[in-house]
């Protein structure tokens, strides 16, 4: 089979694609197999009857239909004899009636064939360009389609972010770069003299001050001139419209995807627990060819099933109803407490950082990044805590998963919202403070350099803030995307994350997503206290720190754990691989939620 395997592989790939297009038909045919079996003779009579009409149009359609049948006969679950019969008939019909077609029809048929061939070729080429296709296929074959679906989702989000980047870049950044006033001319674009000496320190760069602050990245760079350049490009208008367009695009694409998915998905959760079914139906390896292997496989299956039974029995231990209910109430109380706690912590930390800024001129690294670190820590630790708590509840795994996801979602949303609110409060306080001290330029610039809060702003609130709050500043609101400077920083941070591991793929993909996340920060910078830059810097910081934490957690928790389990299980007394600490499991649902959380930050 080795010689023929190559062409077989290519044939199968192309036929597989053809099959995909008629998969709907196949499924219908599978489920109606019984009807078809009884009606098979009628079927063939009907075919003959149809062909006898002399209408050229119908003949043509019929010939196409027969050709389709021939192409897909392999996928039918019919007995061989029937397949052969149908095939023979279809071939005869095509041969017989193709000669009867007029010349134009003949050309049309040839054209249709050519078109089909071309489209297949094009499809093959396009598939080559889909990023990471091969890698995802490999993951799928090793870990199953559930895990692969996570990566497909990630890739889709990445695509969306790229489109958003292009939109904002093309309409806002480029015109500004090409036609706007150059660096150093207007006040909003120059680094004030106090900061100049420290503009290139790593510290300043980390807190996104200095050159980064006064670049296309952030808000304040953009002048408020109504039209720029020789052609009179209305930059402020463009900014506003691009903002709207970004939202509209995201919304539409989400709706489309949801509609598509709702058609395909059956009414059940994606992470179903089919352990017993799989252990019964998929356990036997049909490739086994010798009796000893068969014996050992049989014994392994028996053990497997026995283990599953024992696990199941432990789950079913009868606890009295009262104890069960009180445990569940306790668990819920704990969860609510921790949710409230996390919201309060975030608010508190934002508040504290503001007070710190007002008191001390120079902050330490920790204090600058405090809020981002706290938020990232919470998002990292809380889900595991919830999982521990949910063990108290002793629900069916499906239900407990649903509870878990709901709690994690509430946690994420709560965090983000409390951040927004805290930051807006801070901004309000700042702006009122600023209006009290109108001429004090040097003070704001110092606290600009010590921005340390992560934040999430939605564009619409910012725009509305801009128009409603009437803050007195020189700069206009624009969204920006990063330039190569951000890219270099991102790659510098990323060098530590290249390693080979099963989760490396995930990590690299996550890092990439966060790159594009970085590319889309709304930021406002201010020469005069411009809260927009502030907010933007916060968000970028939050993104960066979240990425670092994810990378670190993968490295430490999963990778090292894997190494420990694999190499130390020989020296340890109990089997490390199946009991604690086993290999880290790739929790699909939680990771997907994390992706959504990241995307929320981006937006």
């Amino acid at each position: 089979m080795s010689g023929g395997s190559q062409p077989v592989a290519t044939i199968s790939r192309t036929t597989a694609r053809r099959h995909k297009s008629v998969r709907k038909n196949s499924r219908r045919i599978y489920s109606h197999y019984q009807d078809q079996q009884h009606g098979s003779s009628d079927d063939e009579d009907k075919e003959d009857g149809r062909v006898d009409s002399n209408d050229p149009e119908e003949m043509f359609q019929n010939i196409q239909y027969q050709k389709e049948i021939i192409a897909n006969i392999r996928t039918r679950p019919w007995p061989m004899r029937r397949k052969l019969k149908v095939l023979k008939q279809a071939r005869e019909i095509v041969l017989k009636y193709e000669g009867r077609l007029t010349r134009t029809r003949g050309y049309q048929a040839a054209g249709a064939n050519l078109l089909k061939k071309l489209s297949r070729l094009l499809y093959n080429i396009v598939v080559l360009f889909i990023p990471w296709e091969m890698r995802i296929k490999k993951i799928e074959s090793h870990f199953g389609s559930g895990v692969a679906s996570y990566f497909i989702f990630l890739r889709w989000l990445f695509g969306i972010n790229i489109v958003l980047t292009i939109m904002t870049g093309a309409f806002i950044v480029l015109p500004e770069l090409l036609a706007g006033a150059s660096f150093g001319t207007t006040r909003s674009k120059t680094i004030p003299k106090e900061q100049f000496s420290s503009a290139q320190d790593l510290d300043t760069i980390w807190s996104l001050g200095g050159y980064l602050q006064y670049s296309v990245l952030f808000y304040g760079y953009y002048g408020r001139v109504r039209k720029i350049g020789s052609a009179g490009y209305r930059l402020p208008l463009a900014y506003f419209l691009v903002g709207m367009a970004v939202f509209a695009y995201s919304f539409i694409i989400l709706l489309r995807k949801m509609a598509k998915n709702s058609r395909l998905s059956l009414a059940s959760a994606s992470d179903e627990n089919f352990t017993f079914c799989w252990r019964v139906f998929c356990a036997w390896d049909y490739l086994i060819g010798n009796p000893e292997a068969a014996e050992s496989k049989g014994a392994a299956i028996v053990n497997n099933i026995r283990e599953a039974i024992v696990e199941e029995q432990e789950k079913k231990k009868d606890t009295s109803l009262a104890v069960l209910i009180s445990l569940r109430i306790l668990a819920n109380i704990l969860v609510l407490l921790s949710l409230a706690g996390s919201i309060y912590i975030i608010y508190f930390v934002v508040d504290r950082s503001q007070k710190l800024e007002q008191e001390k001129p120079e902050l330490t690294l920790w204090e600058k990044n405090e809020v981002s670190v706290v938020v990232s820590l919470i998002t990292m630790i809380a889900p595991s805590a919830f999982e521990l708590v949910s063990q108290l509840e002793m629900y069916h795994p499906r239900t407990s998963l649903r509870f878990q996801l709901a709690r994690v979602l509430v946690l994420y949303l709560g965090n983000l919202y409390s951040l927004i609110i805290a930051l807006l409060d801070k901004v309000n306080i700042m702006s009122s403070a600023i209006q009290v001290v109108p001429g004090n330029w040097s003070d704001p610039s110092s606290f600009l350099a010590t921005i340390s809060q992560p934040d999430e702003e939605s564009l619409s609130t910012l725009v509305s803030e801009m128009y409603l709050s009437g803050i007195k500043n020189d700069s206009m609101s624009t969204t920006t995307t990063t330039t190569t400077t951000m890219a270099t920083i991102a790659t510098a941070l990323d060098t530590g994350s290249v390693f080979s591991n099963a989760s490396a793929g995930k990590n690299v993909l996550v890092a990439w997503t966060n790159h594009t996340a970085l590319f889309e920060k709304n930021a406002r910078s201010q020469q005069d206290p411009c809260w927009e830059t502030y907010v933007g810097q916060e968000m970028l910081k939050l993104s960066i720190i979240d990425m670092i934490f994810t990378v670190a957690s993968i490295l430490l928790i999963d990778f090292i754990r894997g190494l420990v389990v694999r190499y130390l299980s020989d020296c340890c007394c109990w089997d490390l691989e199946s009991k604690f600490p086993e290999y880290g499991e790739f929790k699909i649902a939680e990771n997907v939620l994390h992706l959504i959380y990241n995307q929320g930050m981006i937006w």
Partner: protein, 187 residues
């Protein structure tokens, strides 16, 4: 490769290639495997479509199948008469579905038929018990068997009628990561 073979007419070979996932070379190789099972029964000239059926005992003794606990069911499902006696075409069909090129849906369909012992298009409790016993070679106790069957029904039966229909089964199997690799015979 050349067209030197005289076993099949060109049309027949084409038809077999269209109806299975095998190439010309593989079909010829499969034919020689088939013939090796009973050289005195299988003629070398198939152009006139001789009606030759190999009894189940010969099929079941093939090295690829003889250790498989489900070999009888497999032969029954793919044979025309439902008893396990296979013609060459059934033989080709069987290995085509079990090859690695067959799509998941097709395999799931045939897997369903294999596990449906009484051929009523549903996997009922009795079918499950038989499957489990064949799989574990009767090593599980009755209690364990009963428990496992209950759990399987609990997990997979979507419409709650006490038996698994094709849709239920496909829904479960299509999500199994190892199904494609286990339900595969290489020949």
């Amino acid at each position: 490769m050349g067209n030197k073979q005289t076993i099949f007419s060109a049309q027949q070979l084409d038809a077999y290639q269209d109806c299975t996932y095998f190439t010309r070379k593989e079909i010829l190789r499969l034919f020689s495997r088939y013939r090796d099972l009973a050289p005195q029964l299988v003629p070398l000239d198939y152009t006139h479509q001789p009606d030759v059926k190999l009894p189940y005992e010969l099929i079941g003794s093939m090295p690829e199948l003889k250790d498989n606990p489900f070999r009888q069911r497999i032969a029954e499902v793919f044979s025309e008469d439902g008893e396990g006696n296979m013609t060459l075409e059934d033989f080709l069909d069987m290995f085509s579905v079990l090859s690695e090129m067959a799509p998941r849906d097709l395999k799931a369909y045939y897997a369903f038929k294999i596990y449906d012992f009484n051929n009523d298009d549903f996997i009922c409790k009795l079918d499950l018990v038989k499957t489990l016993n064949k799989l574990t070679r009767n090593e599980l106790t009755e209690d364990e068997v009963r428990m496992v069957c209950e759990k399987v029904m609990d997990e997979a039966d979507m419409d709650n009628d006490g038996r698994l229909s094709l849709e239920d089964f496909q829904h479960v199997i299509v999500r199994a990561p190892e199904f494609l690799s286990t339900f595969h015979i290489r020949i």
